[in-house]
């Protein structure tokens, strides 16, 4: 299989790229929702992310990618307990997937042929400590959505069925993409995504031509193209790692907390999740920029992506909520 299109070679789409990077720096931000038309590079960016992310340490062969041997669930039979580096998992959740595939289920194979009651882990196990990507998330069936909501909130997948009683860690960054024309997302699911960005095709001919040129080069001279962008991808990876360290040392002054709270109150965002995400996103953004202290500027820059999908929304309101956030930001921070 061909290596995916390099992340750094994606032209424009800065919001989308930034939001993905922020979740890489602080996975607890809780996922990204990318809404936009077809052919705007949504899936390209997510697939490129897999190659970009720094590797994780995990027990070899562990179905839930446990970090330490003692975290390996007891239903998993492993031959070795050696810990080694592995790429951060980026798992695709295809549309129309069955519940069994998502949560895992009784291993029918083992049950029928060997008469054993074994657990076959599902996609949630595979995505633990990594990313779970849902393309066309707005077309996902409701019962799968319910299931994901439950797991995303608790960080644990509980399987109680067919005589099995299994629980395992399932902490993942949920990345969803979709085309708003094909349907809307339930507010409950919207709220679970930490950040939300809207993408469109580049408006100017120049960047469109640039996209075409790069894509063409990728298709025609693959090896050279990958080599050309390898260094820039590596630079981003380095910055993510530095950012993760910087995040721990970053100060959060009280006035920034006040800023965040004022902003959320002014916008009427539901619940405290908005405040927390905005704060986390601003901190991750500051760490990414390698700034030493959190300031109003950081909050201002990430406010739209952290809050636009949380506004108490009249389902019939057609004004873009992104502009609404920006307007309120201008007023509050004037």
């Amino acid at each position: 299989m061909k290596a995916p299109f390099p992340f750094s070679a994606i032209v424009g789409q800065d919001d989308m790229k930034l939001s993905l990077i922020l979740t890489a720096i602080d996975p607890s931000i809780g996922g990204v929702l990318v809404f936009g038309d077809r052919g705007t590079g949504k899936s390209t960016a997510v697939r490129a992310l897999a190659a970009l992310l720094p590797p994780i340490l995990r027990v070899e062969g562990c179905p839930v990618n446990a970090e330490r041997p003692e975290d390996v669930p007891d239903w998993a039979v492993l031959e070795t307990k050696t810990v080694s580096e592995a790429p951060t998992p980026v798992v695709d959740l295809p549309l129309g997937v069955t519940e069994d595939r998502v949560t895992g289920a009784l291993d029918i194979e083992a049950a029928l042929t060997r008469g054993e009651k074994a657990f076959q882990p599902g996609l949630l196990a595979k995505a633990n400590r990594g990313y779970l990507y849902i393309d066309e998330v707005n077309l996902l069936e409701d019962h799968i959505v319910d299931l994901l909501l439950d797991v995303a909130q608790s960080g644990e997948n509980v399987v109680e069925r067919e005589g099995l009683s299994i629980r395992h860690a399932a902490r993942f960054v949920l990345v969803g993409s979709g085309n708003p024309e094909e349907g809307e997302l339930r507010p409950q699911l919207l709220d679970r995504f930490g950040l939300s960005v809207e993408v469109g095709s580049p408006p100017d001919i120049e960047s469109r031509v640039e996209v075409l040129k790069r894509r063409d080069a990728y298709d025609r001279d693959h090896a050279a193209f990958m080599l050309r962008w390898q260094a820039e991808d590596a630079a981003i990876r380095e910055r993510i790692l530095t950012g993760r360290k910087a995040l721990k040392k970053l100060d959060t002054p009280d006035e920034t907390l006040t800023d965040v709270a004022t902003l959320c109150v002014a916008l009427g965002a539901d619940g405290l999740r908005g405040e927390l995400t905005l704060l986390k996103a601003a901190r991750a953004y500051a760490a990414w920029r390698d700034d030493t202290a959190l300031t109003r500027k950081h909050v201002r820059d990430v406010a739209a992506m952290a809050l636009r999908h949380r506004l108490r929304r009249d389902p019939l309101d057609e004004a873009g909520s992104g502009t609404r956030v920006e307007r309120v930001v201008e007023e509050v921070f004037a």
Partner: protein, 557 residues
């Protein structure tokens, strides 16, 4: 410029280009099954990869491979089965217009991974709104409509150039034009927003040049843009020089090759007009209709509509024999219960082996009963008699109902009738923003073509039912029908027509609701509702909230 008047030639050229550069993804072939289509499908053997046939109900096991249950149970050891997608092949998807969103997403994912698959989607849609899923159509370069191709044409020999040689030439094709800019600008001019299309156009131009065994020239770009962009166009660019006709006439077919006529253009920019002309020639004649018909299709299930039996959720029903896969869940207890009586007999006859003896025929599947999605079809009277104030009230009521429909996850469709005809303002959708926008734009005035409105609503309801949804028609009007189906202002005929349609609606058991929002209750409307088997609600001086409450009550929730 080749002669695209012959759809068969068009299809053959598209297939040749795909064979030269598999990166073009493939082709959507819109045609009913028949000799003409068979002639094109016959040429698929020229593609470099083996052919794999898919149908819209293909299961995950078949696609991705998995346990071969019958063989496994017989052998007592695990026997794996290969999936259709495991090795690169040309996927031939028949009845592509029936492809469910789940399969479309999976195939799209498979194409995106660039494992080397090609997709030939046979779209057999009869109506304009029955079409291959846009998710798939976007990922293949070409679309050919075989309508209008005659049997005689299938006999005309199509040249069969050596594709293997052309493929070898592909990498060496010289490019002297600013291909990227040309295609990008052209795509914008035709309102093609995504960047896959210009990408395909570039590849197609190269493949065409390789096919001709010549350096890439203006003619290649013309052909490529015409084939890739024309069917994706969302608008017709304005041309400065002359705006002779609204619908662009196909230019007279050139006798010679375009490149011969313009040999000096190889290193120059191609005049934009030339490309515009080339693409316009291939624009589908019913472009505007198609734009409207790009209906929104979504997931189904768990709505408030009619009951349908499924195998994944809802209220449990007794289990049935069957094969696991395609999302079905095995009822383990049921399976064991079926197998239990045979254990002793099987243990005696079968080879020495411990454990249970279960055969494929013992497998029982779980079944559930679920409700399908409901679609509310609003047929709104926007005639002159429904004076402006009333129309505004009707709009207000519909907006309230929309809010409720949103909460119930119902689909909504909007039809307006006024003047002499009715039109579908919005095909079934869950997107409320769109509905509201269309509603706000709804103009008023003219006669009351009630029959036409009912007819359109019926057609919409039938289409929705075919897609597995449960339709409910909600007619909002205030008066007697005064325009007949043929558009004449004949009250008597109009009433008869409306009654006829109402009778058909009753026969096809479509749920209905007639809301009389006139100043005084109108007797003829009550009769009409009776004929239709619909509920009649007179709401003199209705305000939006009362209307909405009435509909909610009538719909039983």
């Amino acid at each position: 410029m080749p002669d695209f008047a012959s759809p068969l030639f068009h299809a053959a050229l598209a297939l040749d280009l795909v064979a030269i550069d598999p990166g073009l993804g493939g082709l959507v072939l819109r045609a009913r099954s028949g000799f003409v289509r068979d002639a094109v499908v016959g040429r698929l053997s020229r593609l470099p990869l083996p052919l794999t046939r898919l149908h819209p109900q293909v299961s995950d096991e078949a696609l991705y491979g998995g346990l071969d249950l019958a063989a496994t149970l017989a052998a007592g050891t695990i026997v794996q089965e290969q999936g259709l997608l495991t090795t690169p092949s040309t996927l031939l998807l028949s009845m592509a217009e029936r492809c469910p969103p789940g399969l479309a997403a999976r195939l799209a994912g498979c194409m995106d991974r660039e494992a080397g698959h090609m997709l030939i989607a046979l779209d057999e849609g009869a109506e304009p709104d029955e079409a291959c899923s846009p998710t798939l159509a976007d990922r293949v370069a070409f679309r050919v409509d075989l309508e209008g191709a005659t049997l005689a044409e299938t006999r005309a020999p199509l040249d069969a150039p050596d594709l293997a040689e052309a493929r070898a030439r592909l990498a060496q094709t010289m490019v002297t034009l600013d291909l990227h800019r040309q295609t990008a600008e052209l795509a914008v001019a035709f309102g093609v927003d995504g960047l896959r299309a210009p990408m395909f156009a570039i590849r197609a131009a190269r493949a065409h040049a390789a096919l001709r065994d010549a350096p890439l020239a203006a003619a290649d770009v013309e052909v490529a843009c015409a084939m890739v962009l024309a069917h994706r166009a969302t608008r017709i660019p304005e041309r400065d020089e002359d705006t002779e006709t609204e619908s662009p006439e196909p230019p007279p077919p050139d006798d010679g090759d375009g490149a011969e006529e313009t040999p000096d253009q190889d290193s120059l920019e191609i005049p934009q007009e030339l490309l515009l002309e080339a693409v316009s020639a291939l624009l589908p004649p019913d472009l505007l209709d198609q734009l409207q018909a790009r209906a929104l299709r979504g997931a189904r299930g768990s709505g408030a509509g009619a009951v349908q039996k499924g195998n994944r959720r809802g209220r449990p029903l007794p289990s049935r024999p069957g094969r696991p896969g395609n999302g079905a869940r095995v009822d383990l207890v049921g399976t064991l219960r079926t197998a239990a009586p045979w254990q002793r007999m099987r243990a005696e006859t079968a080879a020495v082996r411990d454990g249970l003896h279960i055969r494929a025929s013992d497998i029982r599947l779980k079944r559930y009963e679920d409700r399908s999605d409901r679609v509310l079809i609003f047929a709104v009277d926007a005639s002159g008699s429904a004076a402006l104030a009333r129309l505004a009230e009707a709009k207000g009521a519909i907006e309230l109902l929309l809010g409720e429909a949103y909460a119930r996850r119902d689909y909504v469709s909007l039809i307006a009738f006024r003047g002499t005809a009715s039109e579908v303002l919005l095909p079934p959708t869950r997107s409320l923003v769109q509905t509201k926008r269309r509603l706000a734009e709804l103009p008023g005035g003219g006669g009351t073509p009630l029959a036409a409105g009912l007819q359109t609503a019926m057609a919409e309801a039938e289409a929705a039912r075919r897609r597995g949804m449960s339709p409910t028609i909600c007619v909002l009007t205030d008066g007697r029908a005064n325009i007949a189906l043929d558009g004449s202002a004949d009250r008597k005929q109009a009433a008869a027509d409306a009654e006829k349609i109402a009778r058909i609606a009753r026969a096809s058991r479509i749920e209905g609701l007639v809301l009389d929002c006139g100043n005084r209750p109108e007797r003829s409307l009550a009769t009409l509702a009776d004929v239709m088997g619909a509920r009649y609600l007179a709401l003199p001086r209705a305000n939006a909230e009362r209307l909405s409450a009435a509909v909610s009550a009538a719909l039983g929730d």
